[in-house]
Symmetry: C2
Subunit: 329 residues, 2 copies
């Protein structure tokens, strides 16, 4: 089992990726490949003199930047860490790829290099969200911003396998994000998707609303990639806004500052609960390979957990389960 | 100036509406009509023996429930508080309508009774959001879930007038919600809308992302009603989730409980900052009249502020400004 890590992806690259990789070899014992600027990666690796010989470095002279157009950059930068890393999977020299880089480029290069699983028409990005009811999966959060109902149906099948074999849920519930719970509500797209899901073998509970997302009402939340992308970014922003505003308020009073210091254990506990890093990256479901996408602002812990998830995708044979399930339709 | 309040709309109706109306007459001196079940409304009004003779009660024997289908309920319940209240505007017996009831029914009945302003093809619901940069307006949050680009263009013109004349912003910036900032990003719908806005006289700053919503990056956030509805409900839910989780953490420790008590001024300050009630309801922009929609869980203060906003729409002549601006295209 060998996992390739894009060493040039995150905002803190390559330091963050190298630190995460070192932690992952120590904890899980996987064989890892760090792909990227050899000199920069080597310099970081020197900070961990006892680091395992399980980490190999492969040089990739180019880097796709965060805001480069996806398809164009993948075509032009054949020697980038993303394109070269995925080529290793294509040539069966590695089993999984982890990147905190340009999401669009990773989706595009994965689809080109790995192709899609039989029965899948579009890949989708699934993210595990922290909710009051534990982790729920939301798919798609941006791979496919103008999907057809059949794509969401396939996402549901794929997220079901992810929930069962990685998140260990026995009969995950599936909800379709809509503006109301009634079957008559929503756009034509949502209504057609509802009809497809109703006829499936999935544990489909019907429409859900925005307020159900963090309430943990269902295990799997289905939506188009435009809506999913907006939800994720709004969520991050509102959490940030609340804590910034709370800090301002606390600073304004000496007593409140003392109180906040005393209550710091509670704030830390909350931070841990809301911690995306624990869930370790978002699998790109539907490609014929394993590709885990991490946030650009990933910490070493987030990278380490993304590597763990990549390993679980391999050992659990998630893709085989997806293909079998899709074949049954 | 006479403002009609649907006394049967909110979850706490009619007590909440009556309390809000009494506060509004005391603060603003408007003439108000409470429309709804006369006996129930009368019983509530008796709790305010000194209440002004500026509040009139009109009996409406029917009530549209929260989850009734919008168009059907409006057709069938001609004697509901919503339909009868809007008829008063149609007959020029009142100048504005405020309801915390079934949003779909209010949109539908308003469009049927009041018709649309010249140059407007669809009404849109605008909500003032509390952000780090003060109040921003988001439109549409659910009146029109499958709009055309021209509808969003018209929403931008209408929200511009709302921002100028009610929120007192001198040259409000307009952002189009998308999955990325680049012009090349997004669905065909978003790209066409971007092109229309680029040619307008509006202070259009281009695409914005989900993370800009609560950062207060722009004064006006444009999106389709499906996305807007989901954003609002996700936002409410995430705030709720954070505070529930924080409470759990605080309860788990005696010292944290003491700390939280000392920091309570900060929590109260934050609550006030994030308080939707202050903004007083969401105008349904585009109808040829003034209709303010409040949240089903409105407090008396929210109703009072919705009445204030209704009054400002009348005195500021917002609809005239919208029509003039649209005529210039």
């Amino acid at each position: 089992m060998k996992i390739v890590i894009d060493a040039m992806g995150s905002d803190g690259a390559p330091a963050v990726e190298v630190a995460g990789a070192v932690q992952a070899t120590e904890e899980y014992g996987y064989d890892l490949v760090l792909i990227g600027d050899e000199a920069l990666v080597g310099r970081e690796l020197k900070k961990y003199p006892g680091h395992s010989d399980k980490i190999q470095v492969i040089h990739a002279p180019e880097k796709i930047e965060m805001h480069e157009p996806a398809a164009l950059s993948v075509r032009r930068k054949r020697h980038s860490s993303i394109v070269m890393g995925l080529e290793l999977l294509k040539k069966n020299e590695a089993d999984a790829f982890v990147s905190a880089g340009n999401t669009g480029a990773v989706v595009c290069a994965s689809t080109l290099s790995l192709r899609l699983l039989p029965g899948v028409e579009r890949p989708g990005i699934a993210i595990a969200l922290p909710t009051l009811g534990g982790a729920s999966v939301i798919i798609d959060v941006g791979a496919n911003i103008d999907p057809k109902p059949i794509h969401l149906f396939q996402y549901a099948i794929m997220a079901d396998a992810y929930s069962r074999y990685i998140l260990h849920k026995s009969n995950p519930t599936v909800g379709l994000l809509n503006v109301g719970e009634e079957e008559t509500k929503g756009t034509e797209f949502v209504k057609e998707t509802h009809a497809l899901l109703s006829e499936s073998k999935l544990n489909f509970v019907g429409n859900i609303e925005g307020r159900d997302v963090y309430a943990g009402t269902v295990d799997i939340i289905l939506c188009d990639g435009f809506v999913g992308n907006v939800i994720l970014k709004v969520s991050e922003s509102i959490v940030d806004t609340i804590f910034k505003a709370l800090k301002q308020e606390i600073k304004a009073s000496v007593i409140a500052t003392l109180g906040a210091a005393l209550a710091s254990s509670a704030f830390k506990g909350l931070k841990k609960k809301m911690d995306y890093d624990e869930y370790g990256g978002a699998p790109l479901l539907g490609v014929d390979g394993r590709c885990i996408i991490s946030h650009g602002s990933s910490t070493p812990k987030a990278i380490k957990n993304a590597i763990r998830v990549a390993g679980e995708f391999i050992t659990q044979g998630v893709n085989n389960h997806i293909v079998e399930e899709l074949e049954s339709y």
